[in-house]
């Protein structure tokens, strides 16, 4: 799992089709370890689809993808969970488990990775405190405000100390101050050596960073600055 090649994420002539329609067309790109890059483009351009391919939420229709040194078209079903533990994913629609407490939603990642209850409790507390969400620890997600849910989603993505964070619109429901906190956390992660890919159309967010920007338009990569 650690036979790292040059790039953290690499796509070679990747296509993704839904029925006849091409959601992604001939995408080739490389993101290097410890980069902080943005993926942008109008609504429906294919940002979420691209991220889905990276975490194997979907299979590419054609092309090769390498993530963290693994060739995703060759990975066995059994290895997928272990592969995903190297990723921290912030989903556009949060994907919180509605019937489970905030605590459980975050702890889940660590439980699945087999950590001890004691350690899990400590880490989850610490993470929630850093986001000013400690009071909500026992609440069910549907009772949270949109922004609060988004922060829980971010907390869950970061708690497992992944190598790569894939963030889909991580500040869409947040006011500037809360967004600032999230951006700060992502930058911390980046400073500690992590690789970050943020899909967003929030130009303020993009301006706040300094990384490369991949621009998608109707499924095609139109510029990679």
């Amino acid at each position: 799992m650690t036979k790292r090649r040059d790039a953290a994420i690499q796509m070679f002539n990747v296509y993704k089709r839904y029925g006849a329609k091409g959601a992604l067309v001939d995408i080739s790109l490389a993101v290097y370890p410890n980069e902080f890059v943005f993926l942008t483009g109008p609504s429906g351009a294919g940002k979420t689809t691209l991220l889905k391919l990276l975490y194997l939420g979907e299979q590419a229709s054609a092309g090769q993808i390498l993530v963290d040194g693994m060739n995703l078209s060759r990975i066995s079903r059994r290895r997928i969970p272990y592969f995903r533990r190297n990723l921290g994913i912030i989903f556009q629609d949060y994907k919180l488990i509605a019937s489970r407490s905030v605590y459980y939603n975050i702890a889940l990642v660590l439980e699945a990775a087999g950590e001890t209850q004691r350690l899990i409790r400590k880490k989850v507390r610490y993470m929630l405190r850093s986001m000013d969400m400690e009071k909500k620890i026992d609440v069910l997600p549907p009772s949270l405000s949109g922004g609060e849910q988004q922060r829980i989603a971010v907390a869950r993505a970061m708690i497992g100390r992944p190598k790569i964070i894939l963030a889909d619109e991580p500040t869409g429901s947040l006011d500037e101050a809360s967004a600032g906190v999230i951006v700060g956390l992502l930058k911390d992660f980046h400073n500690r050596g992590g690789t970050v890919m943020v899909a967003t159309h929030d130009s303020a967010l993009i301006r706040s960073g300094s990384g490369r920007i991949f621009q998608l338009e109707r499924g095609r990569l139109v510029s990679a600055a």
């Binding site: 969970p81 019937s99 439980e111």
Partner: protein, 293 residues
Amino acid sequence: MALLMQRTFRDMRENRFLNLVTIATVALSILIVSAFSLFVVNANELLASWRRGVRMLVYLERGLSRNQELAVKRRLLKLPGVTGMQYVSREAALQQLKEEMPGQVALFTGLKENPLPDTFEIRLAPAATGSHAVLVALADRVAGIQGVDDVAYGQEWLGKFANVVNLLKLCGSAMGGLFMLAVVVIVANTVRLTLYARREEIEIMRLVGATDSFIHLPFYIQGMVQGALGGIAGVAILYLAYLYIVGGLGHGIPGTLFTPRFLSPVEYSGIIFGSVLVGWFGCYLSLKQLVRH
């Protein structure tokens, strides 16, 4: 392991509605199957007790010598289905008759001669009483033995209706099997619906790096716990119903010495164990299906 149990029970607590509905469905399904089993078991016992009462009376010709009687006995014992016999002399038979009908003693004392024959009373193996044809054939062979005057068998009707009884038993088993199958599918369906209601949750767990066994184990344990609780509840309800009915009967069914029994510990443990298996199996089917999608 402890963590697994903890996860399972937290999970059950947090999905109380789904769990209660499943347990209720399992309980009612088990109630159906076990009520029917109880019915069949007791109907069988009742029949068996009647069958045990089937004896064949072999009336001997008058004035057979001791040797001739022995020869008859040996030949009778060689017949298939005969498990034992008892000799009843004509004197003993008359005596017994007098005792059984004390009011008519005058009738017997007026007799010049004992009109009864010497008799062998044969006990039959259950196989021999199971069908009318077998019983008739046996009686024919007995009647053909030299020295035998006549043959009579009590509760002839049971032999006569053995085919019907067998058919009813066959229907009972077929229905039992049908019910069992139906109940397995019903429980599997219910588990499937509860998993369907939670498919998003399962998908999310997968996305954050949980292995299949991490995701599935609590469901399996839950399925088995639901099976166990449902099974116990079903059998318990049946037991209450049984107590109620038997309490109303007093001692035995009027007209017989037969008291319906409850399922034996082995039987009801088997049913509960089956229920646990069905819970597990329902989970297995549903999870397999979910994974495929």
